[in-house]
Symmetry: C2
Subunit: 138 residues, 2 copies
């Protein structure tokens, strides 16, 4: 995906706390010297998408196709540092039910959150999105 | 902005019906052969941002700094064609008030909508976002 390549993103950790993706500021800077909003939104979307995909992959469903259905992004503060997006499953949901639904019906939905923080810990951008995973033949 | 450059976007018309930005599918394709969600969201965000910026520029406020504050995107259909985003001012608002607020207070807010359609006219992705314009010293 050419715009993703241009973002120079790097995959960080995946653990029970969520999924981390990183991208250098230099490749994602806007005309004001801070992170480009499209890169903030894109990195959070990809982190959430990658998180759901990785969960399915780890359960043996590596061929699942995961799509974003809708998303909301809030841009709270300018970010003058490298981008690090962390995505996690919305606390009202759980991965066990998600994986079971996919295994049983070939279709599962999940709501994920993501954030990018400034170096001082304040939230620069916040994301919430709904995703659906489908069997490739679904 | 490197990710924007990678999208290869092209500025279309600006008229009373809104602002159009285009980008070729080949530069914005995902692993499934359709348009990458990040490019859809990014192009709509940029079209809306460019629309508000162009309105201010045409009124003599070319130094205004326009920021996106929040946005919602719905991904409705896969798009297997070049991307064309059209952005327009939310019908509950008007540009006259927006420009007047900016001239008087150096700060103005606007809500904009945007869409990308499939070649058959159905909506592939829909955007709504809030923007703020500030004086550069504001």
């Amino acid at each position: 995906m050419p715009p993703v390549r241009a973002m120079q993103l790097e995959v960080g950790d995946l653990d029970e706390q969520g999924m981390v993706l990183r991208a250098p500021l230099a490749a994602n800077v806007n005309d004001k010297g801070c992170a480009f909003g499209g890169s903030l939104a894109g990195l959070m979307t990809l982190a959430a998408w990658a998180h759901a995909s990785a969960i399915l992959d780890a359960r043996g469903f590596g061929d699942a196709e995961v799509y974003v259905q809708d998303s909301q992004v809030r841009y709270l503060l300018p970010l003058y540092a490298d981008l690090e997006a962390r995505a996690w499953l919305n606390p009202e949901q759980n991965w066990t039910d998600f994986v079971r639904a996919f295994a049983e019906r070939g279709r599962a939905r999940a709501r994920l959150n993501a954030e990018i923080r400034c170096p001082d810990g304040r939230v620069a951008a916040a994301f919430e999105g709904r995703f659906v995973a489908l069997r490739p033949d679904g």
